[in-house]
Amino acid sequence: MIAAFVGLLVLLFATACASVASPKGWSSPVEGDSVIVVAHRDKLYTVDPADDLFASLLFPPEPNVEEIDTEALYGNPVVVGDRIFVPTYDDRLYAIDFDGLQVWSAPFKADGQLVGGVIFASEGDDADGEDPPGTVYFGSDDGNLYALEADAGIQSWFFPTGNGIWSTPALFEGMLYVTSLDGDLYVLDAETGALQWKFGTDAGIASTPVIDEAERLVYVGGFDSKLRAIDIDTQQERWSFGADNWFWTTPLVVDGVVYAGSLDGNVYAVDIATGSLAWAQPFETEDPVRSAPALAGGVLVVVDRGGNVYGIDPETGADVFNGPIPLPDDVLADPLVRVAPGDDGEALVETVLIVTTGGELYEIDPQSPRSRELPVQLGD
């Protein structure tokens, strides 16, 4: 009898703590011609920069919000003209207009969740009609990289990798660079999807590869806790830089230095020429860093998972903000750098938009970081 009650107690406790974790999403803000698109959980909003960042629901559109369940939004959408391509955690890629209405007859359905973002490649000439001629590329947790015709959502080709793709592909000289949780960097012909070459690492890769066109290097951070520079021409590793935990951030390349945060709670600046630390020591954060670093107004802005915003001197690694600006919620999305009117209303300054997991959108001017901390609330 006692055993039965003890079992019941265990069960109830387990029920409380062991239900399936719900995805929250960490899609980053992206900028269109006159509007900023920001995601929060399973919904997409437009933020009007000309109207004091007034936010309004874009997708799923009113009044049919309940009819479309995106589950969560992780991958960055891409804005092409009057069209937005939205990858969702419920396996679908939507093509919508700025009224939030779908422009394809049906969303494209993959066999796995879409965690990474979408990129668009035009077919040479500028779009002169309503439908953008070109191709959208994105990966899925089903392990496939998909290429779709942007105007109709018809699949052109797909390429299977050995595990899920959680990153956004990068396009350079007609080649697609895509990382996979199987631990490989794949380089594919963007037109046909044919594999050109691949580079294997020691663990899964979830971070987006970054192309350094000047150095002809591709930077990849992985779950083997290494940030690698791979030569595009020789297909060989030029150097690797080790951290104490995974690299999941998209690296930032500026003036011969590559910056990347790590889940070990450090931000690293690596000299591209030597592969060694460019600062005297890594910049230590209070929490792990998944968001990509951003450079705005000459300041390297980094946000850790706990929502602490740091301003770092990119040359020395010194703390510019004299301590982090704490935001009230976690931050896992990448920040967006945009040009905005300054405090005087005339001069333009580079600011950083940061969206928290709670749906607050903050705009911070790195030159006077504490000048604007009132958030715009997305959703409820």
């Binding site: 703590c17 062991a18 949780l181 779950f223 935990n245 896992l332």
Partner: protein, 304 residues
């Protein structure tokens, strides 16, 4: 740091995180397959907790052996204090510690709960939980590079509930079997307790099966594996005396033969000590039949 924080720290760093790392280790040894990792982990945990399980099984067996005597006492004495004293006397004579059954189970409870948490952490069902997992894995290259684990096992995604209901049926069935093996073959003398035991016998497997529909199937796999190991251990602990027909039978445990024997003993020994109303009532009831017959005979004679 207050006491609650210390307990929380010990709980996380002393139980949950080591278990999470073990789970990752076993999965890595199983070539990254999380399903096989869970089964290996279950076997390992069962091996570690074997001394406790053994103590629980032997105590349970000894308790069952004393059941006829206990039930006789429950019938004989209605005074709770007296009943308790007599019961304890029998336990003492048999060398049984009543806590022997419960204590090992209570010690195992935190392990189970931590285990559930570990499986949940290790599953990494969402990108956020994978970020969280990175903070719980020890800085050992073999462990760190093993994640993310292969969530697909047989027909299931270990991170999602099993939509085929197969795991729910397996969890319910294995819980039923284990429960039938551990419950006494004879019903409790206390009707209320017997009723409650009977209800729980059906409720527990149904509840576990129902919750399986909400759990990630990795947890269901753990539950089935641990039940199967439990059944095997129970089988050997019982010295292969178990009546397998009981498993497929849905009828409640039979009333204890000891209770009948007690009545007969009481009838045979009218001078025996009985402080219970039932015992006396029963005696009167049994004695009533011949008395009525005698009266009828007397009335018949008078009429004649």
């Amino acid at each position: 740091m207050d006491a609650l924080e210390i307990i929380g720290w010990l709980w996380t760093n002393g139980l949950v995180i080591p278990m999470t790392n073990l789970l990752v280790l076993f999965s890595a040894l199983a070539f990254g397959n999380f399903g096989i990792g869970i089964i290996m982990f279950t076997l390992f945990m069962r091996a570690i907790t074997w001394p406790l399980t053994k103590q629980q099984l032997s105590a349970s067996r000894a308790m069952q052996a004393t059941q006829p005597q206990i039930q006789a006492i429950q019938k004989k004495h209605k005074d709770p204090k007296r009943r308790s004293e007599e019961t304890m006397k029998i336990y003492k004579e048999a060398g049984v510690n009543p806590l022997g059954c419960v204590l090992p189970m209570l010690i195992q409870m935190p392990i189970w709960i931590a285990l559930f948490q570990s499986i949940r952490f290790t599953l990494g069902t969402t990108p956020e939980s994978l970020v969280g997992l990175s903070q719980r894995i020890y800085p050992v290259e073999f462990l760190r590079t093993s994640v993310p684990l292969e969530n697909q096992f047989l027909w299931m995604d270990m991170g999602q509930p099993d939509s085929t209901m197969i795991m729910a049926v397996l969890v319910g069935a294995s819980t039923w079997v284990q429960q039938r093996m551990t419950t006494p073959a004879t019903a409790s003398a206390d009707p209320q307790q017997a009723q409650m035991n009977n209800t729980m016998m059906f409720m527990m497997p149904l509840m576990f099966a129902f919750f399986t529909l909400q759990f990630p199937s990795g947890l269901a796999l753990y539950w089935v594996a641990t039940n199967v190991v439990g059944v095997v251990l129970q089988y050997f602990a019982m010295g292969r005396e178990f009546d397998w027909k009981r498993i497929i039978s849905i009828s409640p445990p039979a009333p204890a033969p000891a209770a009948k024997e007690t009545k007969q003993e009481q009838l045979a020994e009218p001078d025996g000590e009985t402080d219970g109303e039932d015992a006396e009532g029963g005696k009167e009831e049994v004695a009533a039949a011949p008395t009525k017959r005698r009266r009828r005979r007397r009335r018949g004679r008078r009429r004649r």
